[in-house]
């Protein structure tokens, strides 16, 4: 009994330590996020609208799609890879799920499952090719990106598949209690992803393979299995994002998710994950996603021309990565001096 109690206490200590580290590692972007929020709260134009429960939930609802993708993308990038197919998977999975309801009268549950499975299938395909061959992930997922997008257009003939039932809207536009459904799903997905990354052997293996694939193999890690898992997970997340978005838009649209892979990559990178692989945290990605989402929302509230929004978003990404670069540079300098 005593032992159990003390071990429980140390788990709390580890958790506290983990939070402390999360705070310390992400200090730069946490401050950036707070500055952004404070600026929007005190600005006379946005003060009334930004800090309302309705707007915050609205922002989170919008962010959820990007963060689903970013969860998979964080793993992929830590693994040292990239997944360009996720944006197109959103389109295909949404269209097929909507089509299942409208065209074949399948039950809602089955339709949604189809949507998720479409994502998983493409992810599995990416995983098989990337883990069995040496074709670069960039090329493989560039190909599946085009294939998925093409299939979405072929299936829909280019026009949205509309679904008007109330049940259909629940997933993306509905509420559980007073909280939007996607926000609930997002919290679950984030927790699951964080657990995989931090609490399982697979999580460690992802960092190991991304850090040094050859050393991972020498350590008895089944590298191809790890790659396979990560791309499958990324596909699954994209499938999930697809049905949630299709639900929110009352339709499966072949144009949905266009460029979404880039927003996901941006969230991951702003969150401090290294494009070189081997290093990064899901905790950083969450903040990265929030910054990009709130920035979008803020610019909309400020009535900034949508063309200029791209310019500002690009500058913010560059700035965030540049700050990280300076920090890294500083670290390296210290490393050299120790040597």
């Amino acid at each position: 009994m005593e032992r159990a109690a003390s071990s429980k206490k140390s788990n709390v200590a580890y958790l506290a330590n983990g939070i402390k580290h999360w705070f310390k590692d992400n200090l730069g972007i946490i401050i950036a996020l707070l500055v952004l929020c404070v600026a929007l709260s005190v600005n006379p134009i946005t003060a009334k609208t930004f800090l309302t429960v309705k707007n915050i939930f609205n922002v989170l609802r919008q962010i959820s799609t990007n963060l689903f993708l970013a969860c998979g993308m964080t793993m992929v990038i830590i693994l040292g890879g990239i997944d360009l197919s996720v944006g197109s998977i959103i389109a295909l999975s949404g269209c097929l799920a909507a089509g299942a309801v409208v065209r074949y009268n399948l039950p809602l549950g089955v339709a949604l499952l189809i949507g998720v499975l479409v994502g998983l299938t493409i992810g599995l395909f990416n995983g098989v090719v990337i883990s069995r061959t040496t074709i670069p992930p960039f090329i493989v997922t560039l190909a599946t990106m085009n294939i998925a997008k093409g299939l979405a257009y072929v299936y829909t003939g280019g026009s949205p598949v509309r679904v008007v039932t109330k049940e259909w809207q629940f997933l993306g536009a509905g509420y559980i209690g007073s909280v939007p459904t996607p926000v609930i799903i997002l919290i679950v997905v984030l927790i699951v992803t964080a657990i995989i990354m931090n609490k399982t052997r697979m999580g460690r293996y992802i960092y190991a393979v991304g850090g040094n694939a050859q050393a991972a193999e020498f350590s008895g890690i089944k590298v191809s299995r790890v790659k396979f898992f990560v791309y499958a997970y990324s596909g699954l997340m994209a499938g999930l994002a697809g049905i949630v978005l299709a639900s929110r838009m009352y339709s499966g649209q072949p144009t949905a998710g266009e460029g979404a892979e880039m927003d996901a990559i941006a969230a991951v990178v702003v969150g401090g994950t290294s494009m070189a692989g081997g290093y990064g945290k899901i905790g950083g990605t969450i903040i990265g996603g929030l910054i990009i989402g709130i920035l979008n929302n803020g610019l909309n509230l400020l009535n900034v021309n949508s063309f200029w929004q791209y310019v500002i978003k690009g500058a913010v990404i560059l700035l965030a990565v540049f700050i990280d670069y300076l920090r890294q540079e500083n670290k390296d300098r210290i490393k050299v001096s120790v040597k």
Partner: protein, 498 residues
Amino acid sequence: MGDRLANGVLLQMKNIHKTFPGVYALKAVDFELRAGEVHAILGENGAGKSTLIKILGGIYTADQGEIYIEGKKVDIREVHDAQKYGISIIHQELVLVPYMTVAENIFLGREPVKGGLVNAARMYEEAQRLIDSYGVNISAKSMIRDLTIAQQQLVEIIKAISYNSKILVMDEPTSSISEKEVKFLFETMRNLTAKGVGIIYISHRMSELAEICDRVTVMRDGSYIGTKVVRETTNDELIAMMVGRELKNYYTRDFKKDGEVILKCENISDRKMVKGVSFEVKKGEIVGFAGLVGAGRSELMKCLFGLTREYTGDIYIDGKKVVIRSPADAIKQGIALVPEDRKLEGLFHVQSVRFNSTIVVLKEFIRGIAVNRRKEEEITQAYIDRMSTKTPSMEQAIGKLSGGNQQKVMIGRWLATSPKILILDEPTRGVDVGAKSEIYAIMNDLAKSGMAIIMISSEMPELINMSDRIYVMCEGRITGCLNHEEVTQEKIMRLAAK
């Protein structure tokens, strides 16, 4: 040799100071190089050798101190300045472009030009002439990536020499080449010194000093300790200068007579480098594997460790035939492999000592999603203690430790699997003397506890002083087995070059 020491002074570095934020890297270091001399710089990792060289090469600038070349004070602020004063540096890591030819690499950045275009014909012709003049058998048209590491090193040296340098710096040039190529390298060095070139030679290998060096300067903790004429000093004196204390037993080894055979390999082949190799290893034995680079030693171990899927032949462990198709299989059979190239095959650089220590034994503390952090830290700490690894904490990124401490973590990683058979491929490469001696002592302890150890090494003294038996390999075959009592360097060389 005596007359060489009377030659004019080529280079003088006086009272060099260098600080980095928080660290005093060089404190009042003096160094002198005469024309036609090979002058070694000795020191453990972190002694400041590389910093000194980088100041000479214009990569760093000294905070204080003067550099004189042939008596004239010079100001070296960037790499270009160093080249201007005839200084060439061959770095430890090869910096050739793999997808370019030998000639393109040699003339990189100063290609002969004709009418605004690269004059390829002249470039290849000149490169080939240069290569031939050193009696090297390499085509100027070969792609760098198709050459062996040793050949690449030679290209690097030829490239450095082709600048007509007066001062040549070699940073551990023999760390990745075989005995035979070392001989060749030394010959080339003698040719150069005969022409009046001064060579600064950085190496961890004491055995090379007597063979090639005239003088040796010892550094420790960023300070200048002293300069000795090589033939007037002893290894023991130099080691004492390097570590600042007397190392009593450099090699620790209680030789063992008989144990049961734990590993028996019959007719192992990998259809490439390994051709029908049979050998056995007993409990409590340290078995050395000698041979030149490319003899197939590392490849043989890769078969044993499941890294080569297409091997043929039989492996018996404790008398039972086993099939090993993956490292996971090998680990299950109680085999551990500490690989040759730590950086490439071992380290997860950005990750912590803890992560690196436990990656092979995650099963012991992660079940499903339950991580027993305390157990993890216990395991990590146990092997930090066991290996006496010096690290500020177990959360320290392993990339920031010295080579010796990194190697200790690598060995600890595999000891954590409680192996029956431990394969060490070049266990002390890039490891400083102090840590080397500690690693030898640990190997001895492990063997005494009954572990069977296989050691591949290119360092003769280490093989001879640590192994109960030494198998010598040549071109994929075992050409002989020498017992501890009978082994000599000459016997090994004869078998290795059969």
